[in-house]
Subunit: 499 residues, 2 copies
């Protein structure tokens, strides 16, 4: 076999093309697939994923990667490409085929059992399937390898380089800071009511507004598109083909925030360097860093006063009846209302991370086999009381609310919190670097932020681990300092408190 | 390697899944792909086609097929599956990789040169690329093998089992019958003017009408969908996922006929037997037979008086202004106006096949290397005069009008004529078999025809060659008798002639 970088590159490109096609088939499944085609699409996706796996674990790819690892003549980028693919390949090689198949089956059963458990509103119905998934995931973590902390083996798949040892103190401190903050905001004399109750927003008008926002953010609608789906998501087949979805509801404006969120992911995907296209570098280094981009646009930009200084007049014009007589201040408070609630996906910026810490603590115990499954619902509810002061009335509004565990995803939740922390630190760096950033927002100029992110974050791709990149850009690694300062400043002002 | 039918079936299923994904990526390319993603999609498609080819020519698949060919214990369907795949595989194996690559490159260059030639309106600009394509296609035909008639080697790829020896006399007789028929209709005292000139049909209303037609035909919109594209096409990813497109123009009602045409293809794809899904039998035995279904619904049903007896009142209600005061007879004549014209895709039912015979005669000469390319435009125009009495004013309206040769497709055109002939014969058999078929159309009952086709044609899949299936269903093989009888009866009545 010829050992050249071109030969290796051809294999990288083939893998990326297959990955893009998996993305397309999945996107189509959630948008345009005819209902009766669910089974045939499952077969097609399974075939495609099987071929992707087969190409990835191909011993000849391993030989090429070994050759590249020992080759001093490669450029920095070439070495980074080989390193990232080697890491991905090593993980794929370590898991025996029987375990891959057992997991796929357990995932299907997990979803079915979870749906049934939600219908019956009884965790016990889901328990056996969850037990099986945990056994297999622990086995998988052992196959990946770890230094005694199994969870690290799983976390690595979502947040390469992150470890429990580093994550637990950060999330623990975050929790200990957020609990009193939530309590203080709840006790504040200034109250924010439920603004959206009874208001109606025409969905076609919302749709046009979301497209305007995407354009203003600098999302290239000639290198991507937006469609509708039940759950919003983003999917990058290639940096020239980035697809977002949003979910339109007449009773709220969540579509706007979904679009800003998915648009943040989309800008990341569109922003990879052309030199990295069809290579392992055209990727975020971690899920957490990807999430930092969506959370930044959704919350730090899109729930900010400067943003709405510009957009609120247009919004009121778009919805003259629903927003008749509403002032900017009222609207800005309404979209930043802090309320401890049962459901993570409906949570505000302040309480959200407590939902995440709760899940992190529990799944860490589960993977360590240190929490009997029978006690899981009680452990969930006990933390809900301790963190947020509320008790879920039933399992569906408690331990059964998320699809992640039903699908056997353990290690994914903390990336949401990392996204929030990284978002605040990167945003702070952008504020320092870009003159009059928020003054620009107030004039509808969003692109300077996109341009700064493109230069400092997106175009880097997966050249270095997430935390290393963040340290390079902000001068510090993972920290909750910027995030907490942001929350205190913003919500202190909104609730009339000095925090 | 384990030699069982299940092992063979798994490979068949993988190939069909890959084929379905190629279909999806191509459908997406023509409907929703962002404009800047054209290059990345081309890479993805090329990767996928490469893997499909690699799996098809895999020697282990060859061994399994050899094993199946000698195995008496297989069912009829299993033997048919193995036979169809063996034929496909044998063709793929015979073409050297270098020729495949040379052809792919020549096709790309062909398209570019053809577009430029159309822009400049000069055949000479396209000539060198066409020359190259012809050389490579002749080489490919020789690789496939033939009995002295190279064209047969290419024809086999579109119309398995058909040969020049059989086709030439049928198309020659058709031509000799059609030329005087066209002349007679042109000379008829009753004239039909250009009905659509100046009328406007709201495209959203047209869209709704096309969906109603699809539903009435029995096209399952839960196992398929319709979208918009520049050129209408149909694409079957799987019998549960059949996608049609149509093209809406305000100045005409062509979308209705496009939908009936593509819907005819779509019913075929949805009608394959569930026992054949994901196997080589879930396929039409030839392009001509597939086309018979689209032409039947577009023309024999959709331009017929019974059909419009039911639908014209609804159409007039949908377009009250454009169709104010228009009677059924006027409309029925208008959509059946016979006019010799330069452009094939705009041709009526009577003149259409003369466009096809012209192309067949020319490409047969070209593949035989019996017509110097310099003489091609003149040979085209001479036949246009002889067949239709009109002379194209320039190359763009003559020899440069179709994309097929630009893409190196020689052998495809005759399948359009075969589709028309098979359609008439199958329709006549349906009329004999289904009581009051057209009386039902006049009440909007289209499904009895679909059901008959499903039972006798669609569900057969690729169990036997096209002509064998037609003979089984109609009692006779390929013939122009039913088609000519249909034309004479229909257009005689419309033009007040006894033909």
């Amino acid at each position: 076999m010829e050992k050249t970088f071109d030969a290796l590159l051809a294999r990288m490109q083939e893998l990326r093309d297959l990955g893009g096609l998996i993305g397309l088939a999945t996107w189509d499944q959630e948008t345009y697939l005819p209902p009766k085609a669910a089974e045939s699409r499952a077969f097609q996706l399974s075939t495609l994923q099987g071929i992707h796996h087969e190409r990835l674990v191909d011993p000849r790819l391993g030989e090429l990667l070994d050759w590249a690892a020992g080759n001093k003549g490669l450029t920095d980028d070439q070495r980074a490409m080989a390193r990232v693919l080697t890491e991905e390949r090593n993980r794929a090689v370590k898991v025996p085929k029987a375990l891959v198949q057992a997991l796929a089956e357990a995932q299907s059963r997990g979803l079915v059992a979870w749906r049934e458990a939600r219908k019956q509103n009884r965790f016990a119905v889901f328990k056996p399937a969850l037990e099986r998934l945990l056994i297999l995931r622990r086995e998988q973590a052992d196959a990946y390898g770890h230094d005694g902390e199994r969870y690290d083996g799983l976390l690595e798949g979502y947040e390469p380089g992150m470890r429990v040892k580093r994550l637990t103190p950060v999330l623990g401190a975050l929790r200990d800071n957020l609990i009193p903050l939530v309590a203080a905001l709840q006790a504040a004399p200034r109250k924010v009511g439920d603004f959206f109750e009874g208001r109606r927003f025409d969905t076609e008008t919302q749709w046009r507004f979301t497209l305007r926002l995407l354009g203003d953010m600098g999302f290239d609608l000639e290198a991507g598109r937006q469609d509708k789906s039940i759950h919003p998501f983003s999917s990058g087949q290639h940096p020239t083909d980035v697809r977002l979805t949003t979910d339109l509801e007449e009773g709220s404006l969540t579509a706007l925030f979904s679009t800003l969120h998915e648009g943040g992911h989309g800008l990341y995907e569109q922003g990879f360097s052309a030199a990295h296209h069809r290579t392992p570098l055209a990727n975020a280094p971690s899920m957490g860093l990807h999430e930092s981009q969506s959370r930044m646009w959704e919350n730090l930009v899109g729930r900010g006063r400067p943003f709405w200084t510009h957009y609120f007049p247009a919004l009121r014009e778009a919805f003259p009846q629903a927003l008749a007589g509403v002032e900017l201040d009222t609207f800005h408070s309404a979209i930043n209302r802090v309320t401890p609630s049962f459901i993570r996906v409906e949570a505000d910026e302040v309480t959200y991370n407590l939902h995440i810490v709760l899940r992190y603590e529990l799944e860490l115990l589960l993977i360590r086999d240190a929490l009997p499954l029978d006690e899981l619902p009680a452990a969930w509810n006990e933390r809900m009381r301790r963190f947020l002061g509320v008790t879920p009335p039933d399992d569906t509004q408690g331990v059964l609310q998320d699809i992640h565990w039903a699908w056997g995803e353990f290690g994914y939740f903390p990336t949401y919190a990392l996204g929030n922390l990284y978002a605040a630190s990167l945003y702070r760096a952008a504020q320092r670097a870009v003159p009059q950033l928020e003054e620009g927002f107030a004039r509808g100029e969003l692109k300077p932020l996109r341009d700064w992110l493109r230069t400092h974050v997106h175009s880097e791709g997966h050249r270095q681990p997430a935390e290393e990149l963040v340290r390079k850009v902000t001068g510090q690694g993972l920290t909750d300092v910027d995030f907490l300062a942001y929350l205190k400043s913003k919500f202190g002002a909104l609730y009339g408190l000095s925090l």
